[in-house]
Amino acid sequence: MTRSVSGGVILAAATLLLHASSMMQARAADFYAGKTLTIMNNYPPGGGSDIDGRIFARHLSEYIPGHPKIVFKNMAGAGGLVAFNWLGEVAKADGLTTCYYTWNPVVQIIGDAKLRVPFDKFVFVVGTTAPTVAFIRKDVAPGINGPSDFLKAHDFKIGGLSDDALHDVRHRLSLDMLLGPVYGNVTGFAGFAPMFKAMQQNEVQFSSSSLPGYRGAVVPTMVETGIVVPVFQYEDVSTDGKFSASPLVPDLPTWLDLYHEKYGKDVMPSGIKWQAYLLLNMLYTNLLRTVLLPPGSPEEAAAALATGFEKVAKDPQFMTEYEKIIGAPAELIGREDGKKVIAQLGNIDPKVSAFLKDYVANAH
């Protein structure tokens, strides 16, 4: 092919691509014009994820191209799975129903049939994240006044939601590697509120919460009253394996920092538990809440929604309101980054899946 012909082909291809892209943008801009968008939440009204989602919902219409009317609804049950199944199997894939759901990837990793549509089949839009803070009662033997004391802790109980909740599984993995079999597992609490009550009653002594829940519920009732002390935060793990502490909790060491303190700064954890922990940490610290569309939903809808969320997150009024209510700034995970996280679910080492399945089954 001569240079002029190849140049012409390249030019034509570039023109076509540009045209397609602008058509896509134009379609995204028109998609929601005159329409109503329903945002579902998979927990009851009044809870953390509900409030979180409603704050976004109040500002979204202004920033989603086409300015749809926004309606926010709740559908709770079975640890949030009822709503996922509904979105995957019942909701129409017309772009007019989306969600603001807290997810639990453990259910998919262990192949639990109660999740009827795998998370990676949904159309991912954006997600949010928040660091998780772990805390323990000060009166746990031998007396805990700070993170370093935690390394000597023994004979305590951890509070959990259910055996396959990521919150529970991550606790067990992290404590197994850090402290060994020095704790008991108490699971079945219907939510964080009864679990925190049980901590005040000394039925359980260790738990963790996302930063908003920690600042909103734990700090005023247990930290400031001297009952518990924060001991570590779960580190952020990027999809390419880099570890970092959240800048929102600057004074708190990460779990890995404590591991180094105990075993040596050059010693890295290893083994199947470490692989499982890395996987769960990477999935959850990168993506706490997910905005998804039903499988097969139009790409224009996803693009328009993503644009809306990304712009809202930069709105000063939204940022002020969010931080005032939630107690921490909103951390949005963009489309491409979020897709990389969810794509991990399709590439899990079968040994890790098998291990986690067995680990969950033998939680007690």
């Binding site: 799975l81 108490v186 219907a190 509120a193 009550k197």
Partner: protein, 657 residues
């Protein structure tokens, strides 16, 4: 402290807070009176409207609304035998029989009066206890909750009337049904059979509406008015009801205390306060003969408790940031949205706001009860309206109330299935209250038991001081109940036979008993395939359930055999209920048109179509009247459930735009 007390009052009386409070009261009256809506729906819908209000305005509105939904819920409970909210179930037992006797105004007068008194007692308890109550709340941990659930089970006897055996079977059946769904213990879905709807627990509202409403509507389809007797101008007045509340002040006070006790303990749920108070009053009454037949004390007990519980339930929410139940979780969310952190700050920095909650409860209860008392006579007149005019609108709200639970077609299936079950139970001697008690107590018992087992070594959790006291109370209650019933039987009297149970027909009872037996035996067989912990409770419940069901089967079979031998000499005793059963099943089958039609056309149209069809075919009203009536129903449903509540409609083939 006193300055904060007064500051709280000024907060509520200032404009626009007082305006929001009064608006909240009006909205709350509506949400309480419409079956299936209730306080939690009202809070969920109205919460976003409070974002731009100041904290005391927001709580004047939300709490003013929520506090009195259990005042107006007495209206459908008394008039229609349909609980307006899940907290108004026990009011039906004596309230509706009074309406049947032309004493609806008296029942409403008693209900509204002691609602106010119970609400005020709860509010003052909140004011007095907030600074000091924390140790008491924290003394009740999982072991105590398990034993409280067991104590609740001892109420079965009081709620079963003459049919103690069937009452216990009904309660165990309720416990079994409560185990359907996802068990946090073991993370296993139980009895879901791969059906997504059964992944979560069966929702309470459609079950209660089905058990009570559907079977009670049947009487109205015979175009009879609710009241079978004319208005009683002496015994049936509102003023008589008010005097009843004053004369039985001990009942009101004790029931309010029961409500406070339950509200104080997060996790028990306000829906058992009315049952607990009712059972307590029955257990401690000297003359039990009229309970279930229109004893005003039954109404006083239920209504006082379901109001005092609200003030008390605010205590753990405000002091500890621990919501007592789902509606309080929404209120907690409202605190967070307003930038208020429940906990010690509510006793220091925000003490005036805490007291404004107290004043909101006081004012809302007085205003709502006073307003409803003024309207009670007019409301009571509904009992004299022809049944065909009432049935369609009640059907519409029952179906929508059921749909509000999870917005899935399963809600309607549960509604209709429980309608069949409720009617059979009524004709066969199986009391419904113990079944509901089992449904409500099941999750509490199981969850508390497993957490106790995990958190404490061995059975040491039974040796905690409060646990020992509760164990003693359980034993005392069982022994006292048993002695009382033995004494009564020796003296030749009967235990109170509630109108809950119509004349028992063993021909109809047999299939109910067989159904129970299938549930217990089948449940046990399936449970053996679950891991150890999720299997424990189903096995523990199904074993005595199966044995007792066998006894019931033997007694019913013997009654049928004896009847057969005598050629069913009872005549109508056997046949009349069978004819009624046929009519009931036809009616319930006609209701099934609504969900079937909704698969194709929009639900609102399906319900409206039923309303119009009912009026024209059964009611024999003119087409224009039916269409106007149906049109109004459609508009009201659309406004409330679509525009206001934003529910998720079923994706029918031909939805409305």
């Amino acid at each position: 402290m006193f300055e904060s007390f007064l500051a709280g009052l000024w907060m509520v009386l200032s404009w626009p807070a007082i305006g929001y409070l009064l608006l909240g009261v009006v909205i709350g009256i509506f949400f309480g009176a419409v079956p299936g809506l209730g306080g939690i729906t009202a809070l969920g819908i109205m919460l976003p409207f409070t974002y731009t209000m100041s904290p005391h305005e927001a709580f004047a509105f939300l709490l003013g609304m929520f506090a009195i939904t259990t005042t107006s819920d007495a209206i459908p409970a008394i008039l229609l035998s349909v609980p307006g909210t899940v907290a108004g179930q026990a009011t039906i037992l004596d309230g509706h029989p009074m309406a049947l006797k032309g004493q609806a105004a008296r029942a409403l007068g008693a209900a509204f009066t002691c609602s106010a008194v119970g609400g005020l007692i709860g509010a003052f308890f909140l004011a007095l206890s907030v600074p000091v109550i924390k140790p008491i709340i924290l003394a009740f941990a999982s072991p105590e909750f398990f034993l409280l659930g067991c104590l609740g089970l001892t109420m079965i006897g009081a709620l079963s009337g003459n049919s103690v055996l069937k009452g216990i079977v009904a309660a165990l059946l309720g416990l079994m049904v409560s185990m359907v769904g996802y068990a946090e213990i073991g993370a296993v879905p139980r009895y879901s059979f791969g059906i997504p709807y059964l992944l979560d627990k069966l929702p309470l509202v459609p079950m209660v509406l089905g058990l009570y409403a559907v079977s009670e509507l049947l009487a109205l389809t015979r175009n009879l008015s609710i009241s079978k007797l004319p208005h009683d101008p002496i015994e049936g007045t509102v003023w008589k009801g008010i005097r009843d509340a004053i004369a039985n002040w001990s009942v009101v006070l004790r029931s309010s205390v029961v409500g406070i006790y339950i509200g104080l303990l997060p996790g028990l749920g306000g829906s058992i306060a009315d049952w607990a108070a009712y059972a307590h009053i029955v257990q401690t009454a000297r003359d039990k003969s009229k309970f279930g037949k229109g004893d005003v004390r039954g109404i006083l007990a239920s209504e006082a408790a379901n109001h005092s519980v609200k003030g008390a339930a605010l205590v753990p929410t405000v002091v500890l940031g621990i919501p007592e139940s789902a509606p309080y979780a929404i209120l907690l969310g409202a605190f967070l949205i307003q930038g208020i952190r429940p906990g010690p700050e509510m006793l220091t920095t925000h003490l005036d706001l805490t007291f404004s909650l107290v004043w909101t409860l006081v004012i809302a209860n007085i205003v709502a009860s006073g307003g409803l008392l003024l309207c009670a006579n007019q409301i009571a007149r509904l009992t004299f309206i022809k049944g065909h005019l009432i049935v369609p609108v009640v059907v519409a709200f029952i179906f929508m109330g059921a749909w509000m639970s999870t917005n899935q077609m399963g809600d309607w299936v549960v509604l209709l299935a429980c309608g069949v079950l409720g009617y059979f139970m009524k004709l066969s001697g199986f009391p419904r209250p113990p079944f509901i008690l089992g449904l409500v107590l099941g999750p509490i018992l199981e969850n508390a038991f497993f957490i106790s087992k995990q958190a404490y070594p061995g059975i040491s959790w039974l040796g905690r001081p409060v646990s020992i006291a509760l164990l003693a109370l359980i034993v005392i209650t069982i022994v006292a109940s048993a002695r009382m019933s033995i004494r009564q039987k020796i003296a030749g009297g009967n235990l109170p036979q509630t109108t809950e149970v119509e004349k028992e027909n063993p021909l109809i009872s047999l299939p109910v008993v067989v159904f129970s037996l299938v549930i217990f035996v089948g449940g046990a067989i399936i449970a053996r395939g679950y891991p150890r912990d999720p299997a424990l409770f189903p096995l523990v419940v199904s074993l005595p359930g199966g044995v007792l069901a066998l006894f019931a089967l033997y007694f019913d079979w013997r009654a049928v055999w004896l009847g057969w031998q005598s050629g069913f000499a009872g005549g109508d005793a056997y046949m009349l209920p069978l004819r009624q059963l046929r009519a009931a099943l036809l009616f319930i089958a006609s209701l099934a048109i609504i969900p079937v039609a909704s698969l194709v056309i929009d639900q609102r149209l399906a319900i409206t179509g039923y309303v119009i069809g009912y009026l024209m075919i059964l009611g024999r009203y003119s087409w224009w009247f039916a269409i106007i009536y149906g049109g109004v129903c459609f508009i009201v449903i659309d406004l409330i459930f679509d525009r206001l509540a934003s529910i998720v409609w079923y994706p029918s083939l031909l939805p409305l735009p």
